[in-house]
């Protein structure tokens, strides 16, 4: 491999994703929320998959997971896609640009309370 010897200690992103760079789902974005389904494990997956699952005890966005684990967004997206395939993660309904008045009212209350 021509890459050998470069940057020892740095795990190349394609190693974590098993060579995958594309995801099957079109609905995984930076602000997509996922959370771990109770009692599920990713024991047969690698370290990063297990770490993502462990962090998602509360709903987290893909952007937050990337920051917490210090991984590129693209890698986290593939890992999340894997975990959704494994039925160990729950994807929350994505935000919609057609937002309702009731959501806007909740935003007003929430921001005022800050």
């Amino acid at each position: 491999m021509s890459d050998e010897g470069q940057a020892s200690g740095f795990i190349r992103p394609f190693v974590i994703t098993g060579g995958r760079t594309e995801v099957n789902r079109a609905d995984l974005h930076l602000d997509t929320l996922v959370s771990a389904l109770p009692g599920r494990s990713a024991a047969h997956r690698g370290f990063e998959h297990r770490a993502v699952l462990q962090h998602c005890v509360e709903p987290l966005s893909i952007a937050e997971i990337a920051t917490l684990l210090d991984l590129p967004v693209g890698v986290v997206t593939v890992v999340v896609d894997d975990l959704l395939d494994d039925n160990v993660l729950l994807i929350h309904r994505s935000s919609s640009s057609a937002v309702s008045l009731s959501v806007l009212e909740r935003l007003v209350e929430g921001v005022r309370a800050l």
């Binding site: 992103p13 974005h29 930076l30 602000d31 997509t32 929320l33 959370s35 771990a36 389904l37 109770p38 009692g39 005890v57 709903p59 966005s61 952007a63 937050e64 990337a66 920051t67 590129p72 967004v73 693209g74 890698v75 729950l90 929350h92 309904r93 994505s94 935000s95 919609s96 640009s97 937002v99 309702s100 008045l101 959501v103 806007l104 909740r106 935003l107 007003v108 209350e109 929430g110 921001v111 005022r112 800050l114």
Partner: protein, 195 residues
């Protein structure tokens, strides 16, 4: 069973809504987001595929096919089932191509303006308009040297009367809250009352 309540909480659907904070490099987007975020502004690296896919070209100094972009964002838990995310656009114009991903699902935008570099704001405003993301203009007068009236700024930017132009100090939490509320007001006015 304690496990049950935990399981129910996890299975409950939580919704996220997203605002995009756009503006030129150094205009104060990170400061703005940090003023209201319940976590310190998080920064992540988003890998972006570059136009050139060729890796065999030996004449290239770097054969990288991706470039990484630092991305600022903040989080506000509105209530137990609603999270508001604030995403800052990468400041450099050359990363403009990745804004499209930020636009997906964005319900509102804030164009943050520095009156000393007003030209830097046009990219943000054009982008919100082209993507039909409802936005307001917030003039960041962080150095107290604000010498233009909001009407002058509106004229210089050429934004229509329907778009609110407000002033703020991005370092002050109350100011940033007020900008967010102005944006929500703007969104309410743009939402049809009949579903």
């Amino acid at each position: 069973m304690s496990v049950l309540s935990e399981g129910q909480a996890v299975a409950e659907q939580v919704a996220a809504v997203k605002f995009v904070v756009a503006g030129g490099f150094g205009v104060g987007k990170t400061t703005f987001i940090g003023a209201v975020s319940e976590v310190r502004p998080l920064t992540t690296e988003a890998a972006m595929t570059s136009v050139s896919d060729g890796v065999d070209d030996g004449s290239m100094v770097s054969a990288k096919t991706t470039t990484t972009v630092a991305l600022d964002f903040g989080r506000i838990s509105i209530d137990p089932t609603l999270i508001l995310y604030l995403f800052g656009t990468p400041g450099q114009e050359r990363f403009g191509f990745m804004w499209d991903d930020l636009a997906v699902g964005a319900i509102g935008g804030i164009a943050l303006v520095d009156t000393r570099r007003i030209d830097d704001s046009f990219v943000a405003i054009d982008w919100f308009e082209a993507r039909k993301v409802p936005f307001i203009v917030a003039v960041n007068s962080f150095d107290g040297a604000e010498s233009f009236s909001l009407e002058e700024v509106r004229e210089a930017l050429g934004v229509p009367d329907a778009v609110p132009v407000v002033a703020c100090d991005a370092r002050l939490k109350e100011d940033v809250k007020s900008v967010l509320l102005d944006l929500v007001d703007h969104l309410v006015r743009n939402t049809p009352t009949a579903a």
